[in-house]
């Protein structure tokens, strides 16, 4: 009886819509609205080069994850080691984390425009202009870089919290032994912060998979040539622009499957981290 409200909320507001969505993905669009069409939507989906690009980009995000984790980790290390002005940096690094993706996207769209300031500076240095958001080989990486810039402040704070638990005597010992900076990071800091790093990996991955939409929408609209599509964006286009809700449901179900795999993998990582505690 006591758990009934919680169960009802989960079933009514979470599971039931999920089942409806999956069910909907087996029906047709347009003239075939409401008709069961089996796996047709999924066939269409995986034959669509655009959806495959979206999946490839998810793969790219996973590959870029180490970079997205290393940047706040390294900067936190500098702040922890008290480089000159570290207090200022701490504030400055965190600042973008409070900006909405729409604002960040608008700012960088201006900065990265073909006739924008960045290309102006490059031109001054004698380097030809780069169409940052108009070149399909470059645009996705630019958007990811902006996303990392906008969100690494949060991970930085988590790292700094992790450093607070670091045993200062280990660092002193390393210094006495004459370890270089790189050796200190590799043999002292990384092993001591293992759990913090794992936590940041998980939260950064979630962030990249779930909150890039605003940036994509403002900066590239999925282009150029569809090269910056992510599954979320694909779902939105199919539902909102092309009026194909059933196909969008199929894409949502596929995205749910991907998130499930990623989520389970993350739980496994966290379990292993907890296991190593003993």
């Amino acid at each position: 009886m006591l758990v009934a409200p919680a169960v009802l909320i989960i079933v009514g507001l979470r599971l039931w819509p999920l089942v409806l969505g999956v069910n909907f993905s087996f029906t047709g669009d347009g003239d075939r609205d409401g008709v069961m069409v089996g796996l047709d939507n999924y066939v269409t989906l995986f034959a669509d080069p655009l959806f495959r690009t979206a999946l490839r980009n998810v793969g790219l995000l996973v590959l870029l994850l180490p970079v997205a984790v290393a940047i706040p980790g390294l900067l936190a290390t500098f702040i922890y080691l008290r480089v000159p002005g570290h207090r200022v940096y701490r504030g400055v690094y965190f600042f973008p984390a409070v900006l909405s993706p729409v604002i960040v996207g608008a700012i960088f769209t201006l900065l990265l425009a073909f006739d924008g300031p960045l290309n102006g500076v490059l031109g001054g240095l004698g380097i030809g202009p780069v169409d940052w958001l108009g070149d399909p080989g470059v645009a996705f990486f630019v958007v990811v870089a902006v996303h990392v810039w906008a969100t690494f402040g949060m991970a930085l704070v988590v790292f700094l919290a992790g450093f607070a638990t670091l045993d200062q005597s280990l660092l002193d010992a390393a210094r006495v032994d004459g370890a270089s900076f790189a050796q200190t990071v590799r043999h002292v800091i990384v092993p001591s912060l293992r759990r913090t790093i794992q936590f940041v990996v998980v939260t950064t991955m979630i962030g990249m998979l779930t909150s890039m939409f605003g940036l994509l929408y403002v900066m590239t609209s999925g282009g150029p040539e569809g090269s910056t599509y992510l599954p979320e964006y694909y779902i939105w286009i199919q539902q909102g622009r092309l009026n194909q809700p059933a196909l969008a449901s199929a894409a949502s179900t596929a995205l749910f499957g991907i998130m499930l795999v990623v989520g389970l993998a993350q739980i496994a990582i966290l379990r292993r981290a907890a296991g190593e505690e003993d």
Partner: protein, 423 residues
Amino acid sequence: MKQRTLLSAALVVGLTLTAGCGSASGPDSTTGGSGDKLVVWDWKSGDAKAAAYVEKAKADFAKKHPGVAVEFVAQPFDQYYTLLGAAIQAGKGPDVVLFNGGGQIRDRAGALAPLDSYVADDRQRLAGWDAFTKDGKVYAAPVTLQGHPVYYNKDLYQKAGLDPDSPPRTWDDFVRNCGVITQKTGAKCLAQGNKEGYGIQFFLSATGSAVLTPQEYDDWIAGKRDWSLANVKRIFELWKQTADSGLNTDGANSTAMFNDAFALFNSGKAANVIGLMSDVGHWKDFAEFLTPEKLGVMRAPVVNPAAKPSLPFDGGIGYAVAKWTEDPKLAADLVRSLTSADALKAFYADGGAIASDSTIDVSSGGPAVKAIVTEVKEGKPALHVALSSKTLDLMGRLSQQLLSGSATVDDAVAQLAASDKTG
């Protein structure tokens, strides 16, 4: 553009909050549909420029149905069709709905009531019905006309030593003049924005009548589209040529048509632009920057001697009646009020639109708007409006590939033919 994005983001947040309130206090306030109240969805009524129009339309309707309240719900345009899609899925929502002509309304005609019997008296007075017609039935009454005139900056033509009052008549002259302008003034030929894939839509429609023969053009509009025709291919070759021979402004694939490309034209960085007739990027916007005297409108320069260039235009936006409304006749009467002569006149004067009502006097609007209204009489529906949103989406991506050189014209046209066939 940035400002609009921010604004619409703020609107979405606001709407999400109010939508929550609406359903908590009872569905009537947002879904309407009861006998004594009509709910209208649009993306215009929140705009100060449309205030007089909405007032006039409301007054007209109140005269006919004094007991019926009308509520306008302005949605952010970026989210409009997403929100409408949700309403259609639910089978309830607004009684009267604003639509863009062409694919947007045809794809959703199943959720709308045919208006033929209600609007018969307006058929002569208003133009642009085709864009709101599917399978011979009319689903919305046109408010504005939307089309793609080629605007040019007379000042730049003059500075380059060209006669600003006799614009080029053939494509070769057009390109040659552009060369002179770029050499003398540094301005590019064509302000181009293809970030969202709109550039190709404007280009296809603006140049189409100068490339296709009248027969080929009419067949295309009638749905008998033959993508293998040499002239169809020619249009996409010209598109590629605008990039290859440097006619376009730089970075076309990362420049938004709305409104970055228009801003390039306004600031004199390009001599020509394919613009719109209504809403934004039109005669009134450009004339504010360039002054009305310096803004010219030219017919599409002839590419194929057998072609007969004409102004491409369609019904731009129009009001439709949802299928689920209780009293379609009542809702249709509201649509008629929204397209009454007085209301449309206010829309033209304040909003800067070419209204669907051909009886409105535009003589005070400057030479460009006069030229456009004259061309409307011989104009034809625009080529891109006849395509489905799916094909337009594909064409947007292919057009970016053509500009960057990663696709060939043959390949692009073949893919478009396949997409057009499957709908």
